[in-house]
Amino acid sequence: MTEITLDGLGKRFGAVTAVENLSLQIKPGSVTAFLGPNGAGKTTTMRMVLGLVRPTTGRALIGGRRYAELPTPRRTVGAVLGPDGFHPGRTGRDHLRVITRAAGIPSARIDEVLELVELTDAAGRRVGTYSLGMRQRLGLAAALMGDPGVLIADEPANGLDPEGIAWLRRFLRATANDGRTVLVSSHLLAEVARTADRIVVISDGRLRFDGDLSELAGPAGPGDADALENAFLRLTVGAAA
């Protein structure tokens, strides 16, 4: 089983500090929610884990290795980084073919993941004709292609309808129950409150909270939506002020 380790991770873009001295361990078999307002540094952190952004300080390791050192990255980590990484003129199936061919994954896997994300019927259409939710699911299909032990998803609920969100919640739960490591970001507490085993709140690039839902809610208990919301706002808005 593969865990994600952030060790003093930091990133500056010019004068702006996007992420500062972030240290965390994200364990297999549970869903870790990465929460924070827009611009908190969630995306930058995830992209550093995935080797897309070069850290200014510290390091991010997956099973003890940097992403670029993974011998079979697609079979180790699956990543969903938003609904935008597609050529509009390419079919969904061809998008997946590009990945399987490069990663050496048998092409039979394409039909399996299409089935899993319920895109089989749309696979022959150009992505330009897809809805936002369909593009999210195609991204998820790409992430699952190599049957990875780690799933990293940046705001995967964006653009999904209520049915899609419920499906995603069940999917993330089942993925973690399989013993996989699941890291999912959101700027909406309510979206992940019912799925996450562990909540990590960051704001202004710094760690503000790390614990489970009942700790976040305090004495009111995790059933109190208002108490949760207030706690979250205190951590994020209060920190920014």
Partner: protein, 250 residues
């Protein structure tokens, strides 16, 4: 390592064949070759008496290589196109060793550039034959100057595609990259070359035309011009590898 490279090249070829752009670019290149040759003959740029001379023949055939903007654009699409559509993220997630990604793209550029070159060479040979027949001037397609021109045109298009891949890696904005090469190849360099032929012959677009067996005086020999263009391609390729290795994909 070798099998991995092959699978990456195959993946790049799927990218090119699964959208329409590459096909249209090849068709446009074929059309431009035919148009440029027809223009040279029809407009009298090469007069009837010149057609049978070595210089006239080489000038006509060299026009067939002037479709080279299309291979440049094709190369830019291979690299900058991925940044434009954001598919570069999936590419780097599959192969995080970026030097390998860039090397694969350069190699893919060389392969499809040869295809583009063959298309241009075939169109060049057939269009020139048709015009020579129409003007009642004999043309031997198997003669040395013709073969040198056609081989030169193929290598010209192939190296231009590689340069396009490199430029599109250095300048990620697809439109900016295309405008930049157009301005350099067709405006800035022409101006420099006309001012200083001795300097101009070392520049890429002039070397490319010489590789295409253009007969103008003061230019390098064809093989030397090929080496110069290869040098430019190599330089751009190194720049592409270095720039891509350090870049944040945010």
């Amino acid at each position: 390592m070798t099998t991995l490279k092959r699978s990456l090249v195959a993946s790049e070829l799927i990218k090119l064949t699964s959208t329409r752009a590459a096909r249209w670019i090849l068709i446009a290149a074929a059309g431009l070759s035919a148009l440029a040759i027809s223009g040279a003959v029809f407009s009298g740029g090469v007069s009837l008496t010149e057609l049978s001379t070595d210089a006239g023949l080489r000038t006509v055939l060299e026009h067939g290589g002037m479709a080279s903007i299309m291979p440049l654009i094709l190369g830019i699409l291979i690299s900058a196109g991925e940044y434009r559509h954001g598919t570069v993220v999936d590419t780097f997630l599959t192969e995080p060793r970026r030097a390998r990604v860039v090397a694969t793209k350069l190699l893919t550029g060389a392969l499809v550039g040869v295809v583009a070159g063959l298309v241009c060479a075939i169109v060049t040979a057939t269009t020139a034959s048709a015009w020579y027949a129409a003007k009642d001037v004999p043309l031997d397609l198997g003669s040395t100057p013709v073969l040198r021109s056609l081989v030169g045109i193929v290598l010209w298009q192939a190296l231009y595609t590689v340069i396009g891949v490199a430029v599109g890696s250095l300048i990620r904005g697809q439109a900016v990259a295309i405008v930049s090469v157009v301005v350099w190849m067709f405006v800035a360099e022409t101006a420099v070359s006309e001012l200083l032929v001795s300097l101009g012959r070392w520049l890429p677009a002039t070397a490319a035309r010489t590789l295409g067996n253009a007969p103008d005086a003061g230019l390098l020999p064809q093989v030397g011009a090929g080496a110069v263009l290869l040098g430019w391609a190599a330089l751009a390729a190194v720049g592409a590898v270095v720039a891509t290795a350090r870049r944040d994909v945010a």
